[in-house]
Amino acid sequence: MKLLKDIKNLLIGMRITGKHLGRHAITIQYPEERWEMPERSRGIVVLLSDKETGDLNCTGCLLCMKACPSAAIFIDAPRDPETKKRKLLTFTVDNALCCFCGLCEEACNFSAIKMATMYEFSEPEKEGFLWDMKKLQEVGLDVDYIDTRKKKPAKKVPKPATDSGTATDKIVPDTLDSDAKQTPPAPEPDKPKEDGE
């Protein structure tokens, strides 16, 4: 009796498997067929350029570098001693370090960095994972994005501080430049809130 029951239960399992006999495969043949990535998919980091001028949107504010949990972003953007504006010199992303968390994209206030849906970037050498500014811009050229920057940042220059003692000290927390002490500069319009450390 037990034997009959066992055979019956085995047949139930076989029937379930048998239901799939005539059905098409649900897998895809990867290099020939490709899965369409969702819009929000987080792949490789790219730098975005202005749609009209073609210049990089990045202002070198270092926010993404500070947000990165695995220190994969290296930016060199020293302040110009006269205009007090940062000038972007290098922007390097080490894709071997990147953990694809997307915090850099969220930290950016200028629609300058984005995780594109691209996911194929394997390299034979470790050095190949270091992508410089030019390559990041090149890859990001055909990436679609919504420009969330303020249209004319020049209009939003804050009023010069009337009582110039304490107020300016608050606005410019880290005056690294020596000549900044004599003439505290008005904060740049596009300078985001940085932490005071």
Binding site: G13, P38, R40, C68, P69, C99, C101, G102, L103, M115
Partner: protein, 367 residues
């Protein structure tokens, strides 16, 4: 004529044995086919996650938490966010809480589906593996659609969630729930009464309830031994007290019961997701949290019910940007400790079944 005698034999199972789910090494002392001693050796996956967290800001800890227990990464993210919110007394918007519950429960289902497939494969049935992973794919697609990644989500944030669900999420989610409900019948038909499955699982690796409690075992493994203990009911976090769901339990505490219990839990989780989708309110998805999040000095312990038992985090804060001390508690660690107790005096093949039914994941053990 020389006297015939037998000797005990010591053999390594792992670290790269396919049924150790990661890299766990078991030093087995065998007498013939019988296991007489088990010594687990852990640490092959140690990445010092707790220390890494101490060197990062609170927001940066969340991607690290994804790597703590990657099969149910959402609950790790929720856990850390919840602890930080408790510290800083942040009120989370209603919609965010609902979204979190949806994600947590979907992730629990995904984890149990992996269990279903992998356990069956360890025992020698390859078909359920393909079935389990196929249904899990539907859930993973939902996650990818919402947060952009399939495994390391970085979705739940301190004060809410990072993104709202896209409009096509809800219909797709309901469709996935329906599919999984249908396919659960297939799952049960394939294994529940299968004579080979019964012989391999029934009465194997019995864990008495008092032994489980003594070792701090929690989650499905303890509930399969008849202890009705679930943090979602006993110490409700988030908004779990608003949902109507059961805590399934089983009596025998053997491998077969642990398997059945997880299938029961999938059904309960499907119910919770459906209720949450029905009641999903409109509103904000994230409370205002400064990028330089600095909780006040103090300490906090938060815990959640993971698919592998109680998952806890202890955070000590000195009021700075980074946590002073982070200590994690994972359910797998206690379940691995109980393995030598319930695994001795069985056959090597049964040990594989027991190990699989405990559903241990090694990154959670080694941290």
């Amino acid at each position: 004529m020389a006297e015939l005698r037998t000797e005990e034999f010591t053999v390594n199972m792992g670290p790269h044995h396919p049924s150790t789910h990661g890299v766990c090494r078991l030093i087995l002392t065998l007498s013939g086919e019988k296991v007489i001693k088990i010594v687990p050796v852990i640490g092959y996956l140690h990445r010092a996650l707790e220390k890494i967290c101490e060197n990062r800001t609170y927001a940066q800890c969340i991607p690290v938490m994804d790597r703590f227990e990657y099969v149910t990464a959402m609950s790790c993210e929720y856990l850390f966010s919840n602890a930080a919110e408790k510290l800083a007394e942040i009120e989370v918007p209603e919609r965010a809480e609902y979204l979190r519950v949806i994600m947590l429960e979907l992730n629990r289902i995904a984890s149990h589906l992996i269990f279903y497939g992998v356990t069956a494969m360890d025992i020698g049935a390859l078909t359920p593996f393909l079935y389990g992973l196929r249904e899990r794919e539907g859930i993973i697609d939902l996650f990818e659609m919402t947060c952009g990644q399939r495994l390391t989500y970085n979705y739940i944030r301190i004060g809410g969630v990072s993104k709202d669900i896209p409009p096509q999420f809800e219909p797709k989610c309901r469709e996935t729930i329906k599919t999984i409900r249908e396919k659960l019948n297939d799952y049960e038909g394939l294994l529940n009464e299968n004579p080979i499955w019964l012989v391999r699982n029934k009465g194997i690796g019995v864990l008495p309830a008092d032994l489980g409690i003594a070792y701090g075992v929690s989650g499905p493994v303890l509930r399969a031994s008849g202890v009705k203990y679930d943090i979602r009911k006993d110490d409700p976090y988030s908004i779990y007290d608003r949902f109507d769901f059961e805590i399934p339990t089983r009596e025998n505490g053997d491998c077969y019961d642990r398997y059945l219990l997880r299938l029961d839990e999938i059904k309960q989780s499907l119910n919770i997701v459906e209720q949450a989708l029905d009641a999903l309110p409109e509103g904000d998805i994230k409370a205002k949290v400064s990028p330089n999040f600095k909780p006040p000095a103090g300490e906090v312990y938060a815990r959640v019910e993971n698919s592998r038992g109680e998952l806890g985090v202890y955070i000590q804060s000195d009021g700075g940007k980074k946590p002073l001390r982070v200590k994690m508690r994972g359910g797998s660690f206690n379940q691995l400790q109980v393995l030598p107790e319930i695994g001795t005096d069985c056959l090597v093949a049964d040990l594989v079944a027991i190990f699989a039914s405990l559903d241990i994941i090694l990154p959670e053990v080694d941290r």
